[in-house]
Symmetry: C2
Subunit: 206 residues, 2 copies
DNA sequence: TTGACCAACCTAACACTGTTAGGTATCGTT
DNA sequence: AACGATACCTAACAGTGTTAGGTTGGTCAA
């Protein structure tokens, strides 16, 4: 009977840890994120956290999973658009919007190697993996509709080209935002024009 | 008279440090790079290095500058191609080749925020800055030749779109190379097709 | 030649980091 | 009421970048 209370409590603590982690990440950035700081934020020592998460990467992975899942859900809403090419265009824009709103999340997710799998949890599928699958699915649909130029036949190749295009501008902005020697144009506007250009170059003129 | 010997010696030591740094970086990656390890490689303690470089970032910046300068020189050789659009295409390919040959360098240069300026040295201009300027220059030339679609008028915007496209695929490959859930297509081939598509989307059909 | 200086290194230490071993107290169950 | 697990703790290890302060030896002016 009261065993459920304990489970309840653990869920609550886990949630509190993730909330604190989000705060620390936002306040101190990826590099300033430490287990001791995280623990202090909820009145724990650093080691206390290890009872709820395997290690530092486990915490971060869980946080990223949770938050990226929201983005993935947002992508789903786009799924209603009929024209797959138009859907791709909108997906790109949503992607950029998510990335620039959660720069530290994005940096950890897509600009840092070796954020290894956390296999303890239920994990219910990596949301990033799922997002790639969603992109690939849309590409496949567009492929079937004959929307792409005839030299493009491979869904993975196309997906990676499109993903690469989106990711490039975003990650450069995140990494090099403060470099004085590049006069950055507004990210979203620039991306929209790049997106259009890339899609135009991939598809057949109608 | 002997003062030059000392200068000579310091230059020599500095060179040895950078050589060792290159080795450590290649062997242990960015994360495994430590001052103590670097010192040990040339029979110094970690602190000994601080007599030749301001701090860890200073060492890395100097190493990156030196090695990236070679790439920049390679870009210069491309400068001979007459058609600016064709030159852009070749520059992209050279960029990808450099990046995939020096992944750790690339990661530090373009995927890591805040590799702050080292202002002590002669620095003779950031080679990365110079590379961007070189790209911009070529774009300006193509712009003047009327090669781009009429809606593209801004050299910085165009430069950033092109740079973003190149950088995207490369950096995704570096960051997510070992992710099992994305069946990576060969980088160089995929890039070539993306490059073509993007250029096609940016330029007027001839 | 001697005295002073200064460059180039060193050791020791500080304040951090992630992580583990092992102790303690509280709580649910029997 | 006694047991045992759970949820936390303290202490410690091995590592990090960096600084303060010492030591040694070569350079240079008197």
């Amino acid at each position: 009977m009261h065993a459920v209370d304990r489970e309840e409590h653990n869920r609550e603590v886990k949630r509190k840890i993730l909330d604190a982690a989000r705060e620390v990440l936002l306040a101190d950035g990826v590099d300033g994120f430490s287990m001791r700081k995280l623990g202090a934020k909820i009145g724990y020592t650093a080691t206390g956290i290890y009872h709820h998460f395997a290690d530092k990467q486990g915490v971060l992975k869980a946080l990223l999973d949770a938050d990226f899942k929201a983005f993935r859900a947002g992508l789903g809403r786009i799924g209603k658009i009929d024209d797959p090419i138009e859907r791709l265009r909108k997906m790109g824009i949503a992607y950029v919007e998510f990335a620039s709103a959660h720069q530290d999340h994005y940096r950890l997710l897509f600009m840092t190697p070796q954020l290894k799998q956390v296999d303890g949890e239920i994990t219910c599928g990596d949301p990033a993996e799922d997002a790639y699958a969603f992109l690939r699915e849309t590409v496949t649909e567009a492929l079937a509709a004959g929307a792409f130029r005839p030299e493009f036949k491979d869904a993975d190749e196309l997906s990676q080209i499109i993903w690469g295009g989106v990711h490039g501008l975003v990650s450069l902005h995140i990494a090099k935002a403060n470099d004085p020697w590049v006069p950055w144009k507004p990210l979203k506007a620039t991306f929209r024009r790049m997106n259009d250009a890339l899609i135009r170059g991939l598809t057949v003129a109608e």
